[in-house]
């Protein structure tokens, strides 16, 4: 009820405009009580300003099974650019969330992940159960880019290389893939296991990649994806939905997954330890490190909203969106 109260407060007393300041974004896929076609609590994109960390405001369409969000501040048109990966396609706002448009048609459905090329905001990639799609004109037109992904069209995440926009990585049910020609063709990397749920790249060492898998733990490569090593030291779980690098110190990684809570590594992923004090839901689907404050970490849970730590993950407290299945967090 508190969740709904906050929600309605946001609906009726706040403008539906995402402010031009740092914010935490939460893609709420569902809730514990979701029923297809029924009366459901509000889900979708929520955001929170640091200036008021008790209030989550909603933006965009409710209840469209949002599983990803991408944000870009410096949009050529001036407003903040937002993309949502949703069940009914890609939602785009070019005015910071004031207005939205679904920019895909029936060919694009159940979008899992959306990412904007950091060097060219006109280029957008999405991961879907039916392959990779790319837009080169700011989301107006989309083209399937799945050549080489025939072994599995189920794509769970996609990222653009931190240095070279021609290099794109994606995680699939079959394994981890790389494209060196901006998604025109894909090649399977050297990872031997399938069920890859997420792929991440070290922001300081582009050759270092990390993946979280279904039932196969965490793997890291330091040579751009040729050789992968399973990282088992301190790891007592097997399914990981999120692996992230600390943007300030990429030797620090966080990971979370099925009943894992939050795992932290301070030695580039060689060893891990669980750090769950205060974390009352151990199913973690996304983790985000505040780029302005490395000690502030957010963890998205599957069924109990968002948790926040202000001491680098040592202690956690509930941060809102009770009962929500939060699939993705982003901090801009």
């Amino acid at each position: 009820m508190k969740f709904l109260a906050v929600l309605f407060l946001s609906l009726f007393t706040e403008a539906h405009v995402v402010a031009q300041q740092t914010a935490v974004y939460a893609a709420v896929l569902s809730t514990k009580s979701f029923v297809v076609g029924g009366k459901n609590p509000m889900t979708g994109l929520f955001f929170q300003r640091p200036s008021d960390d008790t209030l989550w405001q909603h933006s965009g369409a409710p209840n469209v099974r949002v599983s990803g969000v991408a944000v870009k501040v410096e949009h050529p048109l001036g407003g903040k650019l937002l993309y949502l990966a949703a069940g009914n396609g890609v939602h785009r706002s070019t005015d910071g969330g004031a207005t939205w448009k679904i920019v895909t048609d029936w060919r694009v459905t159940e979008v899992q992940w959306v990412t904007i090329d950091p060097r060219n905001s006109s280029v957008v990639y999405i991961a879907t159960p039916y392959g990779v799609f790319k837009s080169s004109d700011g989301g107006n037109a989309w083209k399937e880019m799945s050549r080489g992904l025939e072994a599995s069209h189920f794509i769970s995440s996609i990222i653009v290389d931190v240095v070279n926009s021609n290099i794109v990585y994606c995680s699939t049910e079959d394994g981890a893939y790389i494209s060196r020609d901006a998604a025109a063709t894909w090649q399977r990397m050297g990872l031997s296991v399938g069920g890859v749920r997420v792929i991440a790249q070290d922001p300081d060492n582009p050759k270092t990649l990390a993946v979280g898998t279904e039932d196969n733990g965490i793997y890291i490569s330091h040579d751009g994806g040729e050789v992968w090593m399973k990282k088992e030291s301190g790891v007592d779980h097997s399914t990981f939905y999120t692996v992230v690098f600390d943007p300030h110190d990429s030797r620090i990684l966080y990971a979370g997954g099925y009943v894992t809570g939050v795992y932290k590594s301070t030695d580039s992923g060689e060893s891990w330890r669980r750090t769950n004090d205060g974390l009352t839901c151990l199913n973690v689907h996304s983790i985000a490190v505040d780029p302005a404050n490395s000690n502030r970490i957010y963890a998205a849970s599957m069924g109990d909203g968002v948790f926040r730590s202000d001491d680098g993950g040592a202690h956690w407290k509930f941060a809102g969106l009770r009962n929500a299945e939060v699939w993705r967090l982003a901090i801009q």
Binding site: S30, V36, G37, D105, S152, E173, H285
Partner: protein, 603 residues
Amino acid sequence: MIYAVLLIFPAVNAMAGTFEERKAELLQEASNERGRNIFLVAAKIATHHDERYALTMLDSLINDQQIGGMFYSYQMIATYLYLQSGLPDSLKEKIRTAYRTRTMYRGDTENHWVAYYTGLYLAAQTWHDEDGSHWFNGKSSKENFDEAKDWLNEWMRITTTIGQGEFDSPTYFIVFITPMMALQQFALDNTMKKKAEMMADYLFADFAVENLNGNYCGAHSRDYPEDIVNPLRAPNVPWAWLYFGTPKNAPWLPTLGLPRQPVFRHPTSSNESLGYAWEVVFGALSSYRLPEIIFHVATDRSVPYVDKEQKRVRNIIRFGKEMNPQVYKYTYMTDQYALGSIQGGILQPIQQHTWDVTYVSDKPGNTLFTLNPFYSGKELAMFFPEEQKFLTDEVNRYHKVYTDPNKWNSSSPYEQTFQCKNAIIVLYNITPTAHHRQVDGFFSKNLDERITLANRWILCKAGKTYIAFFPLKQYEWIEEPNDWRWRSYDVKNGVVVEVGRESEYGSFEAFRKTFSAAAIDAKDFDKTLTVRYTTHMGDTMQFTYGGARILNGHTVDFSHYKLFDSPFLHSDIGSGVLTMTYKNMTRILDFNAVAIRNGMVTK
């Protein structure tokens, strides 16, 4: 055969009166109801009965912010169009506004998309030439119209060339037929209007060929367990009553001793405002009339026949090499019972109904079948993109029984069937790590007789239908309120079933004597998983789990299956053409030419 010069015949006059009477009765009944339900509102306004209440209720439904989604998408615009002259401008404007302010989620199933895109098509057609600021999804009228048109055409193409995914569902039939009838009535584009009419014919024909006294017979892609064990309470029944005239009595009458409301239980019954399955009211309001030939297909059971169909599996997004593998469907129809099956395995998640005998009866529970109650996150993850370790809990939230060991609907990767006319062999090879390792069978308490012979055959009498059921392994009976649950725990398991009619045997005693001497060859079954049985029609069936289905010495070749293959319906894979035949009448739905050709067959 030569198709004579084509005749355009209207829905036959002989049945039109009957239909009109049923239609009037239906609208009268619905208009007397006072549920929070858009179809009841429509009935009241259309019949000018209780209109003030209806308009107030409609206002409430339009304004309820918690109602939305794909069903709302077509229901609101259909209400607007069916009742236009009966609606005050203020309500029309509110409906219009809803398409700007209300999120209408597209959903993730075939029926969801049919509902969503039909609604979007008609709404964008109605409020054309408006920019994206007037629509909930930010797209202009033209963008919405073009997208809806494009997908509807694609759905019709796939359905008529490789088969429907959510096929032959007593529950979801209503979510396909209702939008198609609205589209047929209100589409302004002549091509779409004609194709919608043809799809309505197609869906009705698909139902009709397996209709037995209102029961939607044969295997189902999806159905709710309460409807599986009691087929005459399923949502398809009011449609069968209205259009086929079967069952004889109106479905809301307590003829079967059923509670009244669940007859109309809606697939989204948790949504109070959508309420029960009164969609048939929109059928009654529609100008669509069932072609005479489909009526005959639905009701003439004078000669038993085999109906073979090919359908497709729901989109497989993980753990499979093929997105839409084929489903091979086989149904034997008689005037007293139908025996129907699909080949087994996972062909639809959650609500699959693989085989059953459904028989004519004036009592509830007129069916018999077995299943292995299976569930797994991986099965769900084959079809849904969410995390497989959470999918089971999520599905359990709204389908309630998914993990229930006593559920009456289930796919199972450990179940395979082989049917020939009135006989079926069902085999199980259940992995020891499965959550539920038993085989369950539904035996209604309303059977007239159930006896067990010394040679292990279990014989049942249900009116004029006689069922012989041979269990390969030990079993127990568990008494439940409305049935006896047959349960067998052996993981290598199976049953052989043969069905007969009183007209064939003369009496149940004769049936008993026949099966007292009937033998099953299943020696070394645990090693070979092979059963051999010769039916009383003289067909020898040999079936090995995971192996060949051999009929009279020849391996059954599913590659020859057509979309429809029966005395009444014929359609080749990839053709886009359905030919209906009844005696000397034909009706051809040609989706390539977007044409209906009626004719007379001459020798």
